[in-house]
């Protein structure tokens, strides 16, 4: 049976080139970069190179900081909690603006901040799954400490108007953070051109290793540390440097940028082919216009078929997909995205996300199309949505 991995927004395969770049830093060059001896200093060139690769890839300037963290969840926690300490608890601000569709590593922190007395505004998205820039303006007050808005959404791939939002924030004098996890490596990301103050990103979403992320900090803006300890990362984040991880992240982001054109052309073509074929089936729709989505993502809603049932059938056919809806996750909530974009409530539990990568092949897409259709057929045959109900028994 063919095995097809279409869950690249959850995590990606480490590119063999990335693995090769990391390899020497496990058993050969394993010193602590903070040590004075040769074992320690011998990893410095690779670390410097990796930092160069990261700065180059996102367009950061030398006066900016890119602090490597353990994951984007840490970066997101750091920016929100740091701003809370600096500008709210020990300052005169009391308000944060974010959106209804952020990753839990933003929303859960915001909920916690609310418990600490912070006011949080969760901006709704429109039918296309994005926040319109002007709504940000409507909610900024002189008490607003931070605006945190994702660059691209993990479920739908919808790309947010970060540049326009940055202009509004700049005009109002409010700091802007963006969760760039789903944007970096999929679309061009230039922090200076976009005008953001902070950006989180994560290596395992662009064929780098898991457990390495980063927070971009414009102009080395002060931010209370989350991890106190030794003077690592210029004193901004303590913890012995994850040397192989950083080397891998550097290589991965360089490669991702190199393949951006390929992503834009080849991956997009495969995604569109898959989406077109799925949309040929009746009563299926995809969320958000293609032109404004990351090229690798499609979220489809299959009327009458519960998302987890769909995943089950796909998995039996060797295909990995995902759903944020009901049964698949630990809790029983509907997929918040479906509610957020204002889909029919009957569709709240029908979403299936397919996310490709530059390693996805045409053959895999053809196979997926075939299997997807089979699954829809089988499950719709079982579904009560399409089943017979005598007139006199209708509720």
């Amino acid at each position: 049976m063919m095995k097809v991995y279409l869950d690249n927004n959850a995590t990606t395969m480490v590119d063999p080139e990335v693995k090769a770049a990391m390899d020497p830093y496990f058993t050969e060059i394993y010193g602590n970069p903070n040590s004075l001896h040769d074992f320690g200093t011998s990893c410095h060139p690779a670390l410097r190179k990796a930092m160069d690769q990261m700065y180059e890839a996102i367009g950061a300037r030398d006066e900016d900081d890119i602090v490597v963290t353990s994951c984007a969840t840490e970066s997101n926690n750091w920016i929100l909690k740091g701003i809370y300490f600096d500008l709210i608890k020990n300052g005169d601000k009391d308000h944060i603006i974010t959106t209804e569709v952020e990753h839990p590593s933003i929303t859960a922190v915001c909920r916690w901040l609310e418990e600490q007395g912070v006011r949080v505004t969760y901006l709704p998205v429109n039918q296309e799954g994005i926040v319109e820039a002007h709504t940000v303006r409507d909610f900024i007050t002189d008490k607003t400490a931070l605006v945190s808005i994702m660059w691209a959404n993990n479920e739908t791939g919808a790309i947010f108007p970060v540049e326009q939002i940055a202009e509004i924030c700049k005009e109002k004098g409010v700091l802007l953070h963006t969760d760039g996890v789903q944007a970096v490596g999929k679309i061009p990301v230039d922090v200076i051109q976009a005008g953001v103050d902070f950006m989180s990103f994560s290596a395992h979403k662009f064929h780098g290793p898991k457990g390495v992320g980063a927070l971009y900090i414009r102009n080395g803006h002060p931010l209370t540390s989350l991890l106190h300890g030794g003077e690592h990362m210029g004193g901004r984040r303590s913890g012995t440097l994850n040397v192989p991880g950083i080397v891998g992240m550097g290589k991965a982001i360089e490669l991702a940028n190199y393949y951006l054109k390929f992503e834009e052309e080849h991956v997009r073509r495969l995604r569109d082919k898959l989406e077109d074929a799925i949309l040929e089936l009746p009563d299926i729709y995809s969320v958000g216009p293609r032109a404004n989505r990351t090229p690798n993502t499609v979220l489809v809603s299959v009327r009458g078929v519960e998302g987890e049932a769909m995943l089950w059938d796909l998995n039996r056919a060797g295909i990995a997909a995902s759903t944020g809806s009901a049964c698949a996750s630990e809790d029983l909530e509907a997929n918040p995205i479906m509610t957020a974009v204002g889909a029919d409530s009957e569709l709240a539990h029908t979403a299936v996300r397919l996310s490709l990568s530059r390693f996805t092949t045409e053959e895999e897409i053809d196979y997926t199309i075939e299997q997807f259709k089979k699954a829809v057929e089988r499950l719709r045959a079982i579904s009560s949505t399409y089943a017979y109900m005598p007139e006199n028994m209708k509720a």
Binding site: G304, A309, C327, L332, H349, A381, T385, P390, A395
Partner: protein, 327 residues
């Protein structure tokens, strides 16, 4: 939290083989029509339960013989995850050949148990239990249609959780049937409280008349009272209840009476006495905390000899898992 919880497992790994097979090949999936009813000489009943917006909906078809009330044939259709499909399939299997009155007695527990591979291993993880509750509810719905019970009166229940539309009766029943002890369990079984969470306790998103925490406390109290009453009835009818089946209050009474009958007199003979301070259930053990009074209290042998005597008397007369602890 413990070792096993730290790396989250896939809920799919917790499905029994039976559940997995039924998800792949449900046997009773399909529709029944008026034609089928005519052919079999019965009445067609079609009942819906749940809603797609909640993530689970099931439609149950019955053909019932109006003379005998027997379910001649049954089928289902389901919008739901695999476990909903498997539970519905099992539920239909259990309905077939039963009378409507018998079918109504099928509970979600019966459905879940029927899907187990091993008698003591649940067929689905707890957060999937609501799928079998749904299967149970739809039978009641079908029966109410067949019996001509007014649909309005069916809807007239007190709805505790609006998001999941779960009634007070369902919640109480589920607590009693499954011996639920926490609000989280209620949520796993019924979905009540899984959404906006307003119905869990006061102070949520929205003010409500009923809260799961209160219902749980009240129902547990009712259960305790029922148990007491049952025991009293049993006693009245001369039936012995085992120490294990007693409530804590009954256990304390039983311990007191054994001490009064068989222990205290010997202590008094020696110029001492004792009192029971507390009785606690500690896993399988019943711990009896006592204090010596009078002559016993300073006597060195009290902690060994007397203690041994008291403990073995209680063990012999009541239960081998009693431990006596002097304070």
């Amino acid at each position: 939290m413990a070792k096993t919880d730290l790396i989250g497992g896939s809920i799919w790994e917790e499905y029994s083989q039976k559940v997995q097979e039924l998800m792949n090949n449900p046997k009773n999936q399909g529709e029944l029509t008026e034609d089928d009813a005519k052919r079999l000489g019965g009445e067609l009943i079609v009942a819906d339960f749940g809603a797609e917006s909640c993530g689970d909906a099931v439609r149950l078809y019955w053909i019932v013989d109006p003379k005998t009330d027997k379910i001649l044939d049954a089928k289902f259709k389901s919008f739901g995850c695999g476990t909903a499909i498997a539970s519905s399939d099992t539920m239909v299997e259990l309905c077939k050949g039963k009378t409507v009155d018998e079918a109504v007695k099928i509970t979600n527990i019966d459905v879940e148990k029927a899907m187990r591979d091993e008698p003591n291993t649940p067929a689905v993880p707890p957060q999937k239990m609501h799928c079998s509750v749904m299967a149970y509810d739809v039978i009641k719905k079908a029966a109410s249609l067949y019996k001509g019970v007014d649909m309005e009166s069916f809807e007239d229940e007190i709805i505790v959780c609006e998001c999941a539309r779960v009634s007070l009766n369902t919640i109480k029943e589920v607590i009693k049937l499954n011996d639920l002890k926490t609000v989280e369990e209620i949520t796993d079984y019924t979905k009540a409280g899984a959404f906006c969470k307003s119905c869990i306790k006061p102070g949520g998103h929205e003010e409500r008349e009923w809260y799961l925490v209160d219902i749980l406390a009240d129902t547990r109290r009712e259960m305790e009272e029922e148990k007491l009453k049952e025991a009293a009835e049993k006693q009245a009818s001369g039936e012995e209840i085992s120490f294990n089946d007693m409530t804590l209050v009954q256990k304390i009474k039983a311990i007191d009476s054994v001490i009064d009958e068989s222990v205290r007199q010997y202590l008094i003979m020696d110029g001492g006495n004792m009192e029971v301070l507390d009785v606690k259930q500690n896993g399988q053990y019943t711990d009896v905390y006592i204090r010596y009074l009078g002559a016993c209290s300073g006597c060195a042998s009290s902690t060994t000899g007397t203690l041994y005597a008291i403990e073995s008397t209680l063990k012999e007369k009541l239960d081998p898992n009693i431990r006596v602890l002097p304070i």
